[in-house]
Symmetry: none
Subunit: 76 residues, 5 copies
């Protein structure tokens, strides 16, 4: 095994770390959703669907990192 | 044992660190849920189910990191 | 495989990390949107469309990183 | 002992650091639970059970890091 | 391929990382815009146009990083 392979592994590890802050961002969305439902339980449907939409949009950033990590592992 | 293997181990360690901020994000969700239940205990069911959904969605980011770490350890 | 290739992989991993903070920024947008809908459910349409616009504009930063990572992997 | 073994130790150390922010996230849950019980002592049972559930769900992130660290130490 | 080329790739990766914090800054703009529309939906037009202007101005930082990364990849 040569050193280049190890360096590619480090590159893949760094790439997937892109999703690190997405975890806290999505937690913020869900936390605010939970708080809003506690205050206004009648709006639960609207709140929950906007929460899911917002988390899905944020998720893209983490997926970019995963994509590059997978590319580096299997296609580089 | 060659150096490349050690570098792959560092890559795997970096990869799993993706989940680092998910812990704080999920804690924010649960903290807000607990706060909302204290204010409005009747909405407990709605709050708790949205909390579990939000945490499950955030968890995906940590799982991406775990996936890449496992790939680097066993399949690279 | 030569060392330069491994270094390019590290460069690609660093490049895609640009999107790291976008995850938290977009989560902030969605969290504030969810909070605003809880307070004023009638304005849901306006809030949601501005949320999507704001997230789309923030997304560009993550896309710059993805673009450079892809360029480094396939065109360098 | 060769350098690769030392690099694997660094990888394992990085891996277990995943749990670093889980400590602050879970502390936020418990702090909010204590605050909510102080405001509304009658809801203690509901608050406490949601707190335990939330902390258990956050804990998973730290466990992923522990798992990868153990794998690197014993199975790599 | 020589090591210098790999080092240039790392330089390009670092360059585009300039935009990392822009993601969080633009998310803050959009989040506050969404909050303001929830409070005062009649002002939607003014809020949204100022949000777009603010994000466009913040975006320049990320574009500087992208520019240098592109220069390093193609013109160095």
């Amino acid at each position: 095994m040569d050193i280049a392979k190890g360096l590619i592994a480090i590159g893949a590890g760094l790439a997937v770390m892109t999703g690190m802050m997405t975890g806290i961002g999505e937690g913020f969305v869900a936390g605010k959703a939970v708080e809003a439902i506690g205050r206004n339980p009648e709006a639960e449907g609207k709140i929950r669907s906007t929460m899911i939409l917002g988390i899905a949009l944020s998720e893209t950033c983490a997926i970019y990192g995963l994509l590059v990590a997978i590319l580096l592992i299997f296609a580089f």
